[in-house]
C-alpha cells in the first residue's frame, strides 16, 4: 500500500524546473551569493567579504546599479569543498541569486564549476589566482576569475630577475598544492632559456607545524635568490628563519604572503627589509595615495559601513576591487539576464581607480583573464614601495 502511495505521488510530483527569465533580479534589487571561509583555518580571508560588502553598501547608498540595490548573501563553507557545493546549491536554488560572486578558494570553485555551468549561473570573479578560470572558456563559459593569476605573477618575478639578476641561482619553497605548483610551474616556464636557474626546491604541507628544516636545506644549496611561495603563516616563518640564519638571499615573496598585517609585522619588519613582491592595487599604507580619491573613498566607506575593520588589511582592498568590477559588469549588461551579464563580464574594459595606474580590467573574445598586469614592490622596513613600472604579462 505504501508502495502504491509513493508511485502515485511520484507520478504527480516530478519536479518541473520551469524557466524564469533570470532569477535574482527585479526592478529594485539584484541578489548576489558568496561562499567564503568565515570559520576554520582559512578564515583570515574573510576580510575579502567585508571589503566587497562595503563597496556594495557604497553603491547602494548612491542608489544602486541602474536603480537596483545589491543584496549580497554570504554563507560559510569553512574552506571545505562539500560545503561550498551545498552553499552553491542553496544560493542558486533556495536564495535564487542572480549570480555567484567571488567564491573563495581553488578547490571550492572547482567543486562548483560544473554545477554553475550546467545551471547557467554566473560564477563571477572568483577569489583565487589559479589559471583554470581563464583557461577554459569553452567548457566553463560561466566561470571567470579576477585577480592576476599565479602564472602572470610568476612571469613578473622572472622579468624582474632577468633585468636585475640575470644569472640568479634560485631556491624555491612552495606549498604543495595547486597554488604552489601553479606559481612554481609558471616561474620555471618563464625563466626557460635565460641564465636564471632553479637550484633547489622544497615543498611543505599546510599541516606541517614548521618549515624550519626546509629553509635549512635551501640555505645550504648555495642559492643567492629565494622564491617564497607560501601562505601567510608559513611566509612569516620563512622570513623569521632566514633572518636568524647566515643566508642572505634576494627574497622574493609571493603576493598572497605579502600582507604587512598578517606576515611582515609578526615576522619582524626589520627582518622583512628588502623583500620583493608584486601588487596590483593601491596600498592603504603607502603615503603616495594619501590624497588619492579612490583610496580616500575606500577608507571613508570602510569606516562608515564596517567601522571595526582594519583599513590597512589588503584583503579588504581586494574585495573592494573585485566588487567594483562586479558592479561594472552589472552596469554594462544590456538586459537584466544572466546571459547578458556574462557577456558584459567577458567584454570588460575598465580602469578601476583602486588598482595601480596603468593596470586595467580587460576581457574579450579569447581573453578570459581580467587582470594580467602587476608591479614590483619592495619593502623598505616600514612599508611597501612600488618599483619600476607596471609589467604586463598576458597569456
Amino acid at each position: 500500500m505504501i508502495v502504491a502511495a509513493v508511485l502515485l505521488l511520484a507520478a504527480g510530483c516530478g519536479r518541473d524546473e520551469g524557466g524564469e527569465k533570470s532569477p535574482g533580479i527585479t526592478k529594485t534589487e539584484i541578489k548576489l551569493g558568496g561562499s567564503y571561509p568565515f570559520s576554520g583555518p582559512a578564515s583570515a580571508y574573510k576580510s575579502i567579504a567585508d571589503g566587497a560588502k562595503a563597496y556594495f553598501d557604497l553603491v547602494n547608498s548612491k542608489g544602486g546599479v541602474n536603480g537596483r540595490k545589491i543584496k549580497f548573501v554570504t554563507l560559510d563553507d569553512a574552506y571545505e569543498p562539500p560545503r561550498a557545493v551545498q552553499n552553491a546549491r542553496r544560493l542558486v536554488e533556495e536564495e535564487k541569486v542572480f549570480a555567484l560572486f567571488n567564491t573563495l578558494g581553488t578547490p571550492n570553485n572547482l567543486a562548483i564549476w560544473d554545477y554553475t555551468n550546467q545551471k547557467k549561473v554566473p560564477q563571477a570573479f572568483v577569489a583565487t589566482g589559479a589559471s583554470d578560470w581563464g583557461a577554459d572558456p569553452d567548457k566553463h563559459p560561466w566561470t571567470i576569475g579576477w585577480q592576476p593569476d599565479y602564472v602572470t605573477e610568476a612571469r613578473t618575478y622572472a622579468d624582474y630577475l632577468k633585468e636585475n639578476k640575470p644569472n640568479a641561482k634560485v631556491a624555491v619553497l612552495y606549498q604543495n598544492d595547486g597554488f604552489g605548483k601553479n606559481l612554481l610551474g609558471g616561474f620555471e616556464k618563464a625563466i626557460g632559456g635565460s641564465g636564471i636557474k632553479v637550484v633547489a626546491k622544497e615543498s611543505y604541507e599546510v599541516t606541517d607545524p614548521t618549515i624550519a628544516s626546509q629553509i635549512s636545506k635551501l640555505a645550504a644549496s648555495g642559492a643567492d635568490t629565494f622564491l617564497n611561495v607560501t601562505t601567510p603563516k608559513f611566509s612569516a616563518q620563512a622570513i623569521a628563519a632566514i633572518a636568524k640564519s647566515d643566508w642572505k638571499p634576494l627574497h622574493i615573496l609571493n603576493n598572497v604572503g605579502a600582507s604587512k598585517t598578517l606576515v611582515l609585522t609578526p615576522a619582524g619588519l626589520d627582518n622583512a627589509k628588502g623583500i620583493i613582491s608584486t601588487t596590483y592595487f593601491k596600498d592603504p599604507e603607502d603615503p603616495k595615495w594619501a590624497n588619492d580619491g579612490a583610496m580616500r573613498e575606500y577608507k571613508a566607506t570602510l569606516k562608515r559601513f564596517s567601522p571595526r575593520s582594519n583599513p590597512n588589511d589588503p584583503f579588504h582592498v581586494y574585495g573592494w576591487g573585485a566588487a567594483r568590477t562586479m558592479v561594472t559588469a552589472l552596469k554594462n549588461m544590456k538586459e537584466p539576464t544572466r546571459e547578458a551579464f556574462m557577456d558584459a563580464a567577458r567584454h570588460l574594459d575598465e580602469t578601476p581607480p583602486i588598482l595601480l595606474p596603468g593596470i586595467e580590467v580587460k576581457t574579450g573574445d579569447g581573453d578570459g583573464y581580467p587582470i594580467e598586469a602587476m608591479q614590483i614592490q619592495r619593502f623598505n622596513g616600514q612599508r611597501w614601495e612600488l618599483q619600476g613600472k607596471v609589467v604586463s604579462a598576458e597569456h
Binding site: 615543498s203 607545524p209 624550519a212 628544516s213 598585517t261 609578526p266
Partner: protein, 293 residues
C-alpha cells in the same frame, strides 16, 4: 658531514617543540589515564592569554608566569567541571568529551582573538652560535635545557612529595587511594592543573618559532602524540627524548629518503606510533602494563 650534523641539530630543535607538548600529554595520562585530544588547543588558548597580557603591557617574564598560574587554575577547573562527571567511565565517552573540548576551544579562541597570525616573543636571546660550521640557535639550546629542568622537577615531585605520591596512587588505583584517605577528586584536579601549566609553557616555547595563531598547535599534536607513544605514555623524560628522536628521524627521512620527501613527512609519526605500539607498547621509558585476567 656538516650537513648531517646540521640536520641532527635541526631535528633536535624541532623535536624539542614536539616534546614540550608531549610532556603535557604524558602528565594527563599519568593523572587520569586518558589521552587528552584537546591538550594542544588548551595550550594554544593559554598562549593566547599570555599574548593578551603582553599586549596589555606586561613584560615577557611576568606575562608568562601569570599565564602559567592562570593555566594551573584553568586545568583544575576543566577537570572539576568537565572531566569529573566522566572519571572512570568508558574511553569512548572520554574521547568524545576531549574531542568536543578540542573543537570548542579552537573555535572559542578564534572568536575571541581572530584567526590572524601573530608574533610571540621568545624568552631566550635570538643569537646563533656557530660550532664548527654548524649553526646552533641559542633558543634551541635554551629550550632543551629548560625542558630537561622541568623533567627533573617533575621527577622530584612525583618521587619525593606527598602530592606526587598521591597522584601516582590515584592513577594506578583510585579505589584503594580513596580508602587510604587520599582525596581522589582533589588530586585529579591538581594533576590536570599541572598538565595545563606545562602545556602553557610548551605553548610559550613553541609560539616564537611557529608564530601564534589559532591552529598552530594543530600540526604539532600528532607529533607530540607520537613522541609520547615512543617515549612511553607515563614517562616525562620519555616524552622529551621521544620528541628528539622523532624530530631527528623526520629530518633525516625527508633529507635522505627520496620516497618520503617533504610531502609524506606525516608518515613518520604514523609509522613510529604503529611500530612502537606493536613491538613495545610501553615505549622506551614507560612502565609495562600488566593485565590481570
Amino acid at each position: 658531514m656538516e650537513r648531517l650534523i646540521q640536520t641532527l641539530v635541526d631535528g633536535v630543535a624541532t623535536g624539542s617543540l614536539y616534546g614540550a607538548l608531549a610532556l603535557a600529554v604524558v602528565l594527563i595520562f599519568r593523572t587520569s589515564g586518558i589521552v587528552n585530544f584537546a591538550q594542544g588547543e588548551m595550550a594554544m588558548f593559554s598562549t593566547f592569554a599570555a599574548w593578551g597580557l603582553l599586549e596589555a603591557g606586561l613584560p615577557v617574564g611576568l606575562a608568562i608566569l601569570a599565564t602559567l598560574g592562570l593555566s594551573l587554575l584553568g586545568g583544575m577547573v576543566i577537570e572539576r567541571v568537565l572531566m569529573r562527571p566522566f572519571e572512570g567511565g568508558d574511553h569512548l565517552t572520554l574521547a568524545i568529551v576531549t574531542l568536543g573540548l578540542f573543537i570548542l576551544v579552537n573555535s572559542g579562541a578564534g572568536w575571541i582573538w581572530g584567526f590572524e597570525n601573530r608574533s610571540f616573543p621568545s624568552i631566550f636571546p635570538d643569537d646563533t652560535i656557530g660550532v664548527g660550521g654548524v649553526d646552533v640557535p641559542l633558543e634551541s639550546v635554551g629550550i632543551v635545557v629548560l625542558l630537561l629542568a622541568v623533567v627533573g622537577v617533575l621527577y622530584l615531585f612525583f618521587q619525593r612529595t606527598k602530592l606526587g605520591l598521591a597522584l601516582r596512587a590515584v592513577s594506578v588505583n583510585p579505589e584503594s587511594s580513596r580508602l587510604s584517605g587520599i582525596s581522589v577528586g582533589r588530586t585529579l584536579m591538581v594533576g590536570w592543573g599541572i598538565a595545563a601549566l606545562v602545556g602553557a609553557l610548551a605553548g610559550a616555547l613553541i609560539a616564537p618559532r611557529l608564530f601564534l595563531d589559532v591552529n598552530f598547535m594543530g600540526g604539532v599534536l600528532i607529533y607530540s602524540f607520537a613522541a609520547a607513544t615512543l617515549g612511553g605514555f607515563d614517562s616525562p623524560l620519555g616524552a622529551i627524548v621521544g620528541g628528539w628522536i622523532i624530530g631527528v628521524t623526520e629530518d633525516l627521512a625527508t633529507t635522505y629518503v627520496d620516497f618520503i620527501g617533504s610531502d609524506l613527512k606525516i608518515l613518520v609519526p604514523l609509522v613510529i606510533i604503529l611500530v612502537v605500539l606493536l613491538v613495545r607498547p610501553a615505549g622506551l621509558f614507560g612502565t609495562r602494563e600488566v593485565t590481570r585476567v
